[in-house]
């Protein structure tokens, strides 16, 4: 286990380095720079600004300087939020995105697994049909459309939630629901498929033959097998929730990492974009490792190696 984690750590460092390098050069190849603005400043003034951030240095030198700082976990100053360093921006944005993501994920898993289970157990019933229609709807409707409709209904028609903003629990619910909805849909479908497959297996028959109740068979014997595809989906789902939050954070005016990323990317705030990318990479890696460990936990046949 510890060997596994060590190896993973090694891979993570390598991955982060590759991502770092690719993003570093990719960002600078893309046209436009951080100090372009609609009102063009004189060339000499722009030079002054670029000199302040050492952007006038040769690219390779910039790369190594920045890499050295990054290794020390110092992402440098943000080019577009001049009052902050990237570390500060991330420290403020991360908890917000994280809690939004966690809420969305918990919601997606709870709802998805429940709906999937009910659908699978009551196959071809009315519940199955309506749950699957809902799941498909969740997948089919873009989350920003969902969010707009939800705002009109839940904010203005019934006045349950505030329109946007951050600070209280009430303000997290709606964005988390909208963010989690497509993933709940995916998970419901995966659970249903997985459960149907598992329910046809021999050991389920054994469990019934032992005289176990329907409920016990499904929950104790069926669920674990059915959850495997869901668990392996959690890695991509995390990635999806991270990117999904880009749009929703804007709609609900949440000051999370998603909006930082979009802004940073479109305004070429190199350091901030890089910081967010690396945090995302780290998160994804941790999540994937967790998924692998969970795999090992759920399925004893899988050696965590």
């Amino acid at each position: 286990m510890s060997r596994f984690l060590l190896r993973r750590l090694g891979w993570m460092i390598l991955t982060i380095w590759v991502v770092y390098t690719v993003s570093f050069f990719l960002m600078r190849v893309v046209p436009g720079g951080p100090f372009d603005s609609e009102k063009v400043v004189a060339e000499a003034i722009k030079r002054n600004i670029e000199a302040r951030y050492q952007l006038d240095r040769p690219l390779v030198e910039q790369y190594f300087t920045h890499l050295w700082h990054t290794v020390q976990l110092d992402f440098g100053p943000s080019y577009k939020l001049e009052d902050y360093t990237v570390n500060e921006v991330l420290a403020q944005g991360f908890p917000i995105s994280a809690s939004l993501g966690i809420f969305a994920m918990v919601f997606a898993i709870t709802l998805g697994v429940t709906a999937g289970l009910v659908s699978a157990v009551a196959r071809d019933s009315f519940y199955d049909f309506s749950f699957m229609v809902m799941a498909t709807l969740g997948i089919a409707v873009p989350n920003f459309v969902l969010a707009s409709l939800a705002i009109v209904l839940l904010v203005f028609n019934w006045q349950i939630f505030p329109a946007a903003g951050w600070g209280e629990l009430r303000q997290v619910v709606l964005p988390a629901l909208c963010l989690g909805a497509p993933f709940a849909g995916y998970i419901a479908r995966l659970t249903r498929t997985g459960m149907l497959e598992v329910l046809g297996l021999d050991y389920i028959r054994t469990a019934y033959a032992k005289g176990l109740s329907h409920q016990r068979v499904v929950l104790r014997h069926g669920l674990r097998g059915a959850l495997l595809p869901v668990v392996s989906y959690l890695g991509p789902a995390t990635a999806g929730i991270l990117t999904g939050s880009l749009v929703l954070e804007q709609i609900f005016a949440l000051p999370g990492m998603g909006s930082h990323f979009i802004e940073a990317a479109t305004q070429r705030d190199y350091t901030l974009a890089m910081g967010v990318v690396l945090v995302y990479t780290f998160l994804l890696f941790v999540m994937n490792t967790l998924v692998d460990i969970s795999y090992g936990v759920i399925d004893p046949r899988v050696e965590v190696e």
Binding site: K39, I45, E82, S99, S148, V155, S259
Partner: protein
């Protein structure tokens, strides 16, 4: 993995999730502010020297105060009234005099003006703040606003010539990355500059090799902070990055000596004298514009950038203090008890939110979460316009299309004029933007006092077709493929689609649309890699010059490759023209050239759009779309 871990794992995960959820909901919330508005986006900085853009302006106007302050001429009784803003002595200056030739300004500072830490404000604060702004390492984008002052540009651009009095900063700063506080300063006369061999006169390369230059300076003796310029000095050599030969000192910069060259002088604590190169009628406006607001030297030097801007560190001199800031969420302003006019500041706390989505902003306004929203979706503009809380006024800004005059067939004047005539601008204003914008036939907005815009032709399809045929493209036949470049936001796409359709239907030419995201768009525009491009321009100050000097040959904002020597001469002449009527006439002539050559197609003049809650008093429209927060009240 054994069974025990396996059994515990789900509970561990559950615990983890629960902890995370608990942590997620534990964020404290601030009590509601007296007044909440949407500032449109997260501001770049609260540092006046580095800020650009109107969201920054709103905050800096509340936090800081310049010599003069833009205030409405009279108290607004009805938000729909348009009350012009004037630079008044409602700022740090109590009074001021301008010399007869219009080049020397003398300000008397208010003795009651204080920093938010209680320290008195002095004229030296302005001198230091502006020196900081002009210092090359500050990298201020708006530093050109001070270029009107004698020698300011030279200092800003780090231009030095042999014979200049120079200041040399040695490499002994407390923190090498902070330009302030500065290292040891040596002052003296520049005797010679030795450039490395083989350096070409090419500008860019010269700048690159500049670090290796060796400066020979006769360093003058200093006593008690005073430099005795007439005394004999010692000859020393300096270089930024000496290579090869040894020098006496390596230094950060060699700049012209600020104190003795740049004409910003504190006569005493209360008196500031500024000398300009030319009479600049709009210089008062600049002084009331946020880039020239002062910053607190002690605070900046103690904490350094960017830490001095943190709410816990910052010292300001405006009506408000910065209490709290969460990036891309909100900025909480609290009344500054040390403000000289604090008794007239009504709102105790103000929240400025950074909501980028127009629809979200509208949602929050309708929902009562905002008292003022300057942004709203334009799709329902005609509905919003009918509302009583919709406050709108003409705005000194223009929406126009740039044309790359080097690309055939757009190099032909006839073609450009045909394109202009074929657009029904009225329809764009009525049906697409729909907030009461005025179709534009000139480049300078019509609201500027004492100026009459010169107009290009009005919508006339038949004439347009005639012109196009005369240019060699009857019915648009043979017209090469032309692209309209625009960026993704607002109604740019709809307007581009509309114009595409207009040109297709009226002139028979096929246009492609090229939609780019912002940074790519700017870069493409800068590179001149376009044929026709959507553009906009907001005047910095209410004077035609801010619009017209864009299009001088090789002006950084020209970007059309258009060049006209008469035009250049007229703009230059206007700069040094002391008589205001004659100056305006000169500028009108220039605009006349612009409107007949048409390197740009004016589309419409903006209006400001604001949704202001009826409980807010003291809000009024003006052409700058600037709304000082400290004069607002709520009921």
């Amino acid at each position: 993995m054994n069974a025990t871990t396996r059994r515990i794992f789900p509970y561990l995960m559950l615990l983890l999730i629960l902890t995370a959820l608990g942590w997620a909901v534990s964020f404290g919330t601030l009590p509601k502010a007296d007044f909440t508005f949407n500032n449109g986006t997260e501001i770049k900085t609260v540092d006046p020297a580095k800020a650009t853009g109107s969201p920054e302006g709103r905050i800096i106007n509340a936090l800081f105060e310049g010599l003069l302050r833009n205030l409405p001429e009279k108290e607004a009784t009805d938000p729909h009234q348009v009350i012009p803003l004037e630079p008044t002595t409602g700022g740090v200056a109590e009074s001021y005099q301008v010399s007869a030739d219009g080049t020397v300004y003398t300000f008397q500072l208010r003795s009651s003006a204080r920093w938010s830490n209680g320290d008195p404000m002095t004229a030296h604060d302005f001198v230091w703040s502006w020196q900081r702004m002009l210092h090359p390492e500050t990298g201020s984008e708006y530093s050109y606003q001070l270029h009107y002052v004698v020698n300011a540009k030279k200092y800003n651009m780090a231009e030095v010539q042999v014979g200049d009095r120079v200041e040399i900063e040695l490499k002994d700063r407390r923190d090498p990355l902070q330009a302030f506080p500065r290292g040891t300063l040596k002052r003296g006369l520049l005797k010679a500059i030795e450039k490395p061999k083989g350096s070409s006169p090419d500008d860019a390369e010269e700048a690159d090799s500049r670090e290796e230059w060796i400066y020979r300076v006769e360093v003058k003796p200093t006593s008690n902070g005073k430099v005795s310029w007439d005394a004999a000095g010692t000859l020393k050599t300096f270089s930024q990055q000496p290579t090869g030969t040894t020098v006496d000192h390596s230094c950060h910069h060699v700049l012209i000596d600020f104190d003795s060259n740049v004409e910003i002088r504190a006569i005493n604590d209360q008196t500031l004298v500024i000398k300009l190169n030319n009479p600049t009628p709009y210089f008062k406006q600049l002084l009331a514009f946020y880039p020239l607001y002062p910053v607190n030297r002690e605070c900046v030097e103690k904490y350094g950038a960017p830490n001095w801007t943190k709410p816990e560190n910052i010292v300001t001199n405006g009506p408000y203090r910065l209490e709290f800031r969460r990036i891309r969420d909100r900025l909480r302003l609290t009344r500054n008890p040390h403000y000289w006019d604090v008794k007239n500041v009504s709102l105790e706390t103000i929240d400025a939110l950074a909501i980028t989505s127009y629809t979200t902003s509208l949602n929050m306004y309708i929902n009562g979460q905002l008292d003022w929203s300057p942004t709203m979706p334009n799709t329902i503009m005609d509905l919003l316009r009918k509302r009583d809380d919709f406050v709108s006024a003409p705005f000194m800004a223009i929406y126009f299309y740039r044309i790359n005059v080097e690309r055939p067939p757009l190099d032909k004047k006839l073609v450009r004029r045909a394109l202009n005539l074929a657009i029904n601008k009225q329809l764009i204003c009525d049906q697409i933007t729909a907030a009461g914008q005025q179709p534009a036939r000139s480049f300078v907005p019509p609201q500027l006092q004492g100026y009459t815009g010169q107009q290009c032709g009005a919508h006339d399809v038949a004439r347009a077709r005639q012109l196009l045929a005369a240019a060699g493209y009857p019915n648009g036949k043979g017209f090469p493929k032309v692209q309209i470049l625009y960026n993704t936001s607002d109604s740019h796409q709809e307007i581009a689609e509309f114009i595409q359709q207009e040109w297709k239907e009226n002139l028979g030419i096929d246009i492609e649309l090229r939609n780019l995201e912002w940074a790519t768009f700017l870069d493409t525009l800068n590179q001149g890699d376009y044929s026709v491009s959507r553009s906009g321009w907001i005047g910095d100050y209410p004077d035609p010059n801010t619009f017209l000097d864009m299009f001088v040959t090789d002006g950084p904002n020209n970007q059309t490759n258009w060049s006209n020597s008469t035009y250049d001469e007229l703009i230059e002449a206007a700069k040094s023209e002391p008589d205001s009527t004659r100056r305006m006439e000169t500028l009108q002539q220039a605009e006349g050239i612009l409107m007949s050559e048409l390197p740009i197609l004016p589309i419409y003049f903006y209006v400001s759009t604001n949704l202001v809650s009826p409980r807010v008093k003291g809000f009024s429209g003006n052409i700058q779309d600037v709304h000082p927060l400290h004069i607002l009240r709520v009921e």
